[in-house]
Amino acid sequence: MQISSLIKIPEMMGIKRIIGGIGVPYPLGNPHVSKAEEERTRQKYVERALRLLEQPLIDPA
């Protein structure tokens, strides 16, 4: 799966498992909050990403 701060790009490429990143220079980071909070947030995103890998894809057809 892909974590990208610009989700339009993987969408355009036909990638189905996408999570939007937090910011272009820090897809899994946030320099505006405390270190501890940044790490917690990163863990949440990564856990979501791992769970997404288990997801079957629904065929719209």
Partner: protein, 349 residues
């Protein structure tokens, strides 16, 4: 006025020597035209004369590379040509690149214009389109007549140094060179006109053709996440400090594979961000913002997934040429497959 002297290059098949069995024919030349050269002469009429034809077996050309090229060049030069026309080679995989190579040689070594005609999928097209002018051709000799005409007419224009129209007008493949020109309407008007045509179902032509992306079928879900081996890959340009492999910050075509074995997280002392298309200070400050090794280790200990792969793959995805991006992706994927990785988390800015 002396007629333009043209030399025609063809392979053993069109040179009526034989088929595959004669693909190892060494180069030879004949006076005047041979095979499709007769059609070429008819098209050229009084404007030019096919003074000679050089024939070479497709296998001979590629199996003897430098020697064959020298031999062909000598034969070409022997006719003191003003212009070289090769093929057309349609979709022939060895003949096409041979025509390309011959034209490139004639241009460089003899200083004369040289053109060939190829089908859009002929491997010779990508190899030579930037070096020589290549006209459109069908996939087989079925379209010989029109393809030869297109080739011959453009060759004469190029010889006469006439200004050329765009690729679609003149029937050649774009060089990738942009030529500015004035239009009678401003871009805003052209854009709206194009949209109106599109909505009304009228034909319209885009001014900028976007690249074609091939859509890949997504992989099946990971069956057992708690046993899965997950690899981290990024195009955010996270590299070992000092960028030892000199991965380019933009327009690159290489990637790095680096060990993170036993690392609990990436540190700014050991890694940095070299991506030229974003503010890379944040990635250098904390490389885990791109490659979340720290978070993965926490979740690995919690047994949410099986194991974090010992290597990360990285490149800087800034203005990378599509074909290079594809090659890098394919190479990384092949490596991952050979290590039985269950899934990948790819991060981008």
């Amino acid at each position: 006025m002396s007629k333009i002297k043209v030399v025609h290059y063809i392979n053993q098949f069109f040179g009526q020597t034989g088929g595959e069995d004669k693909a190892d024919t060494p180069p030879f030349s004949v006076e005047g035209c041979l095979g499709p050269g007769v059609l070429l002469q008819t098209i050229l009429g009084d404007r030019a004369k096919v003074v000679g034809t050089v024939v070479c077996g497709d296998n001979y050309f590629w199996e003897n590379q430098e020697q064959a090229k020298t031999e062909v060049l000598d034969l070409l030069a022997g006719f003191s040509p003003d212009l070289v026309i090769a093929g057309p080679a349609f979709n022939a995989g060895r003949y096409g690149p041979a025509c390309g190579a011959v034209c490139e040689m004639a241009q460089e070594k003899l200083g004369i214009p040289a053109l060939t005609g190829l089908y859009k999928e002929n491997p010779g097209l990508e190899l030579y389109r930037k070096k020589i002018l290549i006209t459109r051709a069908g996939s087989s000799a079925v379209s010989m007549k029109e393809d030869m005409k297109r080739l011959a007419e453009l060759a004469l224009k190029v010889y006469a140094k006439e200004p050329l129209g765009g690729p679609d007008e003149e029937g050649y493949y774009a060089h990738g060179v942009r030529k500015n020109r004035f239009s009678d309407r401003i871009a805003a008007v052209r854009g709206v006109d194009m949209l109106c045509d599109k909505l009304a179902g009228r034909p319209f032509a885009t001014e900028i053709r976007l690249p074609d992306f091939d859509i890949v079928k997504p992989a099946s879900p990971v069956k057992n996440l708690s046993e899965a081996v997950i690899a981290l890959v990024t195009d955010g340009g996270i590299v070992p400090k000092g960028n030892p492999d000199r991965i380019k910050s933009a327009t690159g075509n290489t990637y790095g594979k680096y060990s993170i074995a036993k690392m609990e997280k990436l540190t700014p002392e050991e890694f940095e961000c070299i991506h030229a298309g974003l503010d890379n200070t944040y990635g250098s400050e904390d490389p885990n913002r791109f490659l979340p090794v720290d978070a993965m280790r926490v979740l690995e200990k919690e047994k949410l997934f099986g194991r974090l792969f010992d290597y990360i793959y990285t490149t800087a995805g800034c203005t990378v040429e599509l074909s290079n991006a594809k090659k890098m992706g394919e190479s990384i994927a092949a490596d991952l497959h050979s290590q039985n990785i269950s899934a990948v988390i790819l991060t981008s800015g």
